[in-house]
């Protein structure tokens, strides 16, 4: 199912030059508080390579105009760039057609679009939406808003102590009332890789539709939406080494075209009179107003960059680094890793006896180490482990063992202060 699985099974040694990857990311040469930056918070947002920065710079300097409007050369160029970006995304996801790619503001906007447009059209009171216990707020709150508006029910698939998705419990929740299953591909806190393909199959067995939140998954695992066969797949650009301000909703075309617009405005209409307005087909129907033009170009550049390194190579590198980091961190006395699922992406949440994660974050920052400390926008999951917060190191294609060693050294400094 996953690139990572394939890599682990074949155990292919790939010549992956992390130093040449690092050289593409200017932020990685920063010095923070007198130490080299060890950036271990890519799960929140990744750093950007020169290839993305330069491409966006060029788009603003010499290729910029509004899209889909002007009958002049620059506008045509900007429109071509924007639509080519859609094609790049479509190819990356293996979508059937670029028309299935809707550009949004971020993954949150993409999920809200589905909850509002699809939810209010196809769901009604008493229908059930199933989510998992490891969703972040972006895949919880839109469904609660829908519940409050039209009276759907939300069911939650439990997880075990290690953070595994409990497939048997999921099957028990599925039934004739299940209309939609909305789950993440990879947990942003625990790193758990969910068996999304089986989830889709099980949901389809009862006639339910599926939305996969791919904002962590697309980075580490990639996706083939035709093979996955869900109805919706959503992700955000800034975690995939692209700019902030752009996300993607992929949906099956017939379904997208059967959904009413979410926002109204320019660019999404066929004909407007004060009596009646008709709407264009997807994706234009869902892209009201001036879209994130240069952000789309930047996202396409990021995808091109990731493809040039190779998703499989990245997954292999990250998997080795995850093993290294897990081993090193496990040797710190009093450190406990939260989330030890059988199949894991390179995300390590941890707590340290007697030290609040927020204090960890501040102290290790003084040693140049950037991690996230907090509830990671996943409070129900924190409650599951009876924790208010964790510290989280999330690894990316540009991290190396030096970053991990720097983290371990900084954590020992935390222990020294709190001893």
């Amino acid at each position: 199912m996953t690139a990572l699985n394939t890599v682990l099974k074949t155990d292919r040694e790939i010549d992956y030059n992390v130093n040449s990857v690092r050289a593409d990311f200017p932020a990685l040469s920063l010095e923070i508080n007198g130490y080299p930056l060890a950036f271990l918070d890519s799960g929140a947002s990744a750093q950007k390579p020169n290839q993305v920065l330069d491409r966006m710079d060029r788009a603003y300097r010499s290729e910029y105009a509004n899209v889909h409007r002007g009958a002049y050369t620059l506008s045509q160029l900007a429109t071509d760039n924007y639509e080519n970006a859609r094609l790049t995304v479509a190819n990356f996801l293996n979508a059937k057609t670029p028309d299935e790619i809707v550009f949004t503001r971020n993954v949150t906007a993409a999920i809200n679009l589905v909850a509002y447009s699809y939810g209010r059209t196809f769901l009604s009171a008493g229908d059930e939406v199933i989510i998992s216990h490891m969703e972040h707020h972006a895949n919880i709150v839109p469904w609660q808003l829908l519940r409050d508006a039209i009276g759907i029910e939300i069911k939650v698939v439990p997880i075990d102590e290690c953070g595994n998705f409990l497939m048997e419990e999921f099957k028990k929740l599925l039934g004739p009332k299940t209309k939609l299953v909305a789950v993440t591909q990879v947990s942003n806190v625990l790193g758990t890789i969910l068996p999304v393909k089986e989830i889709v199959q099980q949901a389809h067995n009862v006639g339910a539709h599926v939305l996969i939140d791919g904002c962590q998954g697309v980075v580490h695992e990639g996706v083939d939406v035709q093979d996955l066969d869900a109805e919706f797949y959503a992700f955000t650009g800034h975690k995939l080494y692209g700019p902030s301000g752009i996300g993607v909703l992929w949906g099956k075309l017939d379904l997208l075209n059967s959904m009413p617009p979410y926002e109204g405005g320019g660019d999404m209409i066929e004909n407007v009179t004060f009596e009646k307005t008709t709407y264009r087909e997807a994706p234009a129907r869902f892209e009201a107003g001036t879209p994130p033009i240069v952000e789309a170009v930047g996202l396409a550049a990021a995808i091109d960059y990731v493809k040039s390194i190779g998703l499989e190579n990245i997954a292999n590198h990250e998997s080795k680094l995850l093993t290294y980091a897990t081993n090193e961190l496990s040797q710190i006395d009093g450190l406990r890793i939260i989330g030890q699922a059988d199949n894991k992406a390179p995300i390590i949440s941890f707590v340290l006896d007697g030290v609040h994660p927020h204090d960890i974050g501040t102290i290790i920052d003084s040693r140049g180490v950037a991690v996230r400390a907090g509830h990671h926008c996943a409070q129900p999951l924190m409650d599951r482990y009876e924790l208010a917060a964790t510290a989280r190191a999330s690894l990316a294609m540009y991290n190396n063992t030096d970053d991990i060693d720097q983290l371990v050294g900084a954590l020992n400094y935390v222990k020294e202060i709190f001893s």
Partner: protein, 154 residues
């Protein structure tokens, strides 16, 4: 930076963080308020017993948070017991300025000992993102004595 960290996490703070004073729920509390820091998940409840003369007869807290927010709550409850509500308001203003690195100005003589104690938390001014940790309990007690139930430091 190393010095700033050592100043922030000095012995007194670590001690209050590990062994907070007045960490309890007094049954005769006359009001309480929650202090939430939604960004980092800190949650404190501050309890006060207000006497007839608008005196804080007792103050305590429960909850969980980082070393800074727990130490601040611990020290605050120690300091406010026996004070009038108006005095607590005034101290909060002084403390808030102290944490933000702003001019504290002339302070009343009777607060001198309290301000000296609170000074240990002023290292937080070097860490703007942690100011809200230091002030969380104060926001909560402010809400409790003025009749609000929940405050957020955001």
């Amino acid at each position: 930076m190393e010095d700033d960290i050592r100043e922030l996490y000095q012995e007194v703070i670590l001690d209050h963080g590990k062994n907070p004073r007045n960490f309890r729920h007094p049954e005769d509390a006359t009001s309480e308020a929650d202090g939430n820091n939604p960004l980092c998940g800190d949650k404190l409840t501050v309890f006060v017993k207000i006497g007839e003369n608008q005196n804080i007869e007792d103050a305590a807290f429960e909850g969980r948070g980082c070393a800074i927010s727990v130490a601040s709550a611990s020290m605050m409850t120690d300091i406010v017991i026996g004070k009038k509500i108006a005095e607590v308001d005034e101290l909060f203003g002084i403390f808030h300025n102290m944490c933000k690195g702003e001019e504290v100005g002339e302070t009343p003589e009777e607060f001198e000992a309290d301000i000296e104690k609170l000074m240990v938390l002023s290292g937080v001014k070097q860490f703007p993102m942690r100011v809200k940790c230091a002030t969380l309990a104060w926001h909560a007690i402010n809400a409790a004595v003025h009749g609000e139930q929940v405050v957020s430091s955001e």
